[in-house]
């Protein structure tokens, strides 16, 4: 899941200030799960912005809509029927959603309402944690299903660093030591010998070594 957090209202108001007809556009996928850009949050933000505009005697129209998924053309195209009257879209999608809408409607200003944060998982109600960097060369098999790049503060592949205390990270005691987790998991599966290997520095060319990445699957194409 891609996580995000809503930008401060003041920053959003500054960005939308030049526009008179604004569509607040939510996304019902990842950002709905992390309670930052789903239908509820879209309704809340639109309501708050309308009140703020009224309090400042601003003549603007602010309406709201939520797509099931803002980063997929088949869903974004639903805007065809409604987008004409608007001169700006305030997107509560992730960065990919914002750009998907902007790509499809180049004549409309698309403004990000969220700060996109990380790839992560819902750990508990209201708690999301980063667990994947999207490096393009998954090493989870070697490390018992715990990613040392995403979850170790020092991103070391040949750990542990020796600094953890009671299983907590010395850089940030709020998080568990990723290497403690790795060792515990490998031990459970009788695979501690995997740590005898020395891992060379990560090859980051699979992440963005050649610029933005693209996946092309001919079997999925028309």
């Amino acid at each position: 899941m891609i996580t995000g957090e809503q930008k401060p209202v003041e920053e959003i108001r500054q960005m939308i200030a030049p526009y008179k007809r604004i569509l607040v556009l939510g996304c019902g996928s990842c950002v709905a799960e992390c309670a930052s850009g789903g239908e509820k949050e879209t309704a809340m933000l639109a309501s708050a912005l309308r009140m703020a505009a009224r309090m400042n005697d601003e003549d603007v129209t602010i309406e709201e809509m939520t797509l099931d998924r803002q980063c997929v053309m088949e869903f974004v195209i639903q805007l065809d029927k409604v987008i004409d009257p608007y001169d700006a879209v305030l997107s509560l999608g992730c960065g990919a959603g914002v750009q998907a809408v902007a790509d499809m409607y180049p004549e409309v200003r698309v403004i990000p309402g969220l700060n996109t944060e990380f790839l992560g998982e819902t750990k508990a109600q209201g708690v999301w944690a980063e667990t994947c960097l999207g490096c393009g060369d998954c090493m989870l098999y070697d490390f018992g299903g715990i990613c040392p790049l995403a979850r170790c503060s020092k991103q070391i592949l040949n750990g542990p660093c020796g600094g953890s205390v009671d299983g907590r990270c010395e850089v940030n005691p709020d998080i568990p030591c990723a290497w403690q987790l790795i060792i515990d998991r490998l031990d459970r599966f009788g695979a501690l010998d995997r740590l005898e290997d020395i891992y060379p520095p990560k090859d980051w060319s699979t992440k963005q070594g050649a610029g933005p990445r693209k996946i092309i699957r001919e079997d999925q194409q028309k």
Partner: protein, 148 residues
Amino acid sequence: MINAKRRKLALFYCRNVPESREKDRQLLEEACGETISFFPMPCSGRVEPVHLLRALEEFADAAYVIACPTGACRNFEGNLRARKRIERTRSIIEAIGLERERVGLVVCSKDNPKPLAVLAREIMDKVSSLGPSPALGPKALNEEEKGI
């Protein structure tokens, strides 16, 4: 019974509040006229920030929630959730320059539970000092100035 000063209050309340049956609500609505809009809920935990924001946006000078006493929620933690959502709503209205006191939570006393009518009056007295809500636009403020 309740002083119908020009403020409008949106009042969401848990149905566990004493004397809050449908008949009580109807009598209260008759007595209050447009001053208070009552929204009965099966549990205060059902209230969402968007309910309170919409009330403030559409018609209310203040939006309050009445919850049952801490530890007495029949859904165990509904009133605790309501408290968190009130705080969230308050942070949103503060961010747009509205007084946080326009949204609030009143928790019934466990030992001396007051009927809905009494709680409504107490909340109304409290919010009357706030003045008309600027979030309702200049029309509401002008009406206040003209004494309409």
